[in-house]
Symmetry: none
Subunit: 253 residues, 2 copies
Amino acid sequence: MPVAPEPGPAIILVEPQLGENIGMVARAMANFGLADLRLVKPRDGWPSDKARAAASRADHVIDAVRLFDSVEAAVADLTFVLATTARPRDSFKPVRGPETAAGELRARIGAGQPAGILFGRERFGLSNEEVGLADEIVTFPVDPAFASLNIAQAVLLMSYAWRMAGTEDATKPRFAAPEAPAAQKADLHRLFDHLESSLAKAGYFHPPEKREVFVQNLRTMLTKAGFSEPEVRTLRGVIKAFDFAIARGEGEK
Amino acid sequence: MPVAPEPGPAIILVEPQLGENIGMVARAMANFGLADLRLVKPRDGWPSDKARAAASRADHVIDAVRLFDSVEAAVADLTFVLATTARPRDSFKPVRGPETAAGELRARIGAGQPAGILFGRERFGLSNEEVGLADEIVTFPVDPAFASLNIAQAVLLMSYAWRMAGTEDATKPRFAAPEAPAAQKADLHRLFDHLESSLAKAGYFHPPEKREVFVQNLRTMLTKAGFSEPEVRTLRGVIKAFDFAIARGEGEK
């Protein structure tokens, strides 16, 4: 079970047509910690089995859905509303990208002012009148030649932008690669010595006057690789295996 | 019709199961200007009517799809590969968030180095071996309690992050491009094959049931090292020297 979510923007779907889309919206919200889903006159009614199935266990979002008869009613308790649109609108409202819009939502919600985002119908989005109910417009930086985003994708992007706006270091991942201790230079130098002496026995340094160049190249690349201590040990094992095989003369058997 | 897209990362789906998902991936790519979609053994074959229908007119992406028999083949011409994962992995690969990863893709692709992103199967993602073929791991800042993203959503977020990374050139820190041309994955895979077959002959893989683990460790460290094409050639030369020495049985003389 997710922990009680931090306050986030309400996601308001205006006359959504397909239950599957509502479910995918719920799932996208849950992915990024949002939980307040509001529906204005869903075409196929509510509750919806299709929505629950498509939500893939984002049941806490589905269970908390609230139904409204109008956009006005759905935004009544909010203090700040964004409208998502794909097309430019003849309006004097500010138009934001997702990152700026998410930053603004963070500032307002952080100050205790409830906010929400309107998403339009699958087929024709929001009416001009509905956009008129919003404070600002959000649009996505899509390829103008291929601009149609489905609702769940639009909600996913806004939920992601919301999440990113809240992380102090937005690019910090949830988990980090385990840190292997870096090899000490002495280990690295023993690796150089071992490799070079094995290669000398194997006849690698030919012609002999080029030996210095070959050695420098090998040392440069092994240093640049930044191997950890266990990795250096693995490489020593690899060279040792070749040493033994040469000593045994396996190829002659 | 979209204009000829700028170069972008290849999107590689590994054994995708549903044609619908492939289509939604194509649509998400088209939204943000990506066009190079590669499929590794799609379960239901290719072409797919379901994929085309779900792509909602991203036909240019669907028409350009390329099919591959293995992940190795699908990444052979690339120099830098990211693997998307939802779960932490026991590997020493760097783990990035989408923005950092997208910035890195921009830097490399901008320097003329082809790059791609691996996405796993709907049911269980990428195998450890497949992740082992990548240079770095990308993960999404999802709610740990509700972490499952469907493939199309994961592709949408990476495509969006790619697009955003391109709109903020001026304010983003630039990554230094590597000096020597990075090795193509096909070169790196040939290095793996060569090293592993030489080590097998040398009796390195002992006990045999540990072979898989040894191989994974070697591949991970050689991938992590980020060797250039001339460096990979040097390593091939090193192994060849050992091969010849074993064949000659120098130690016996």
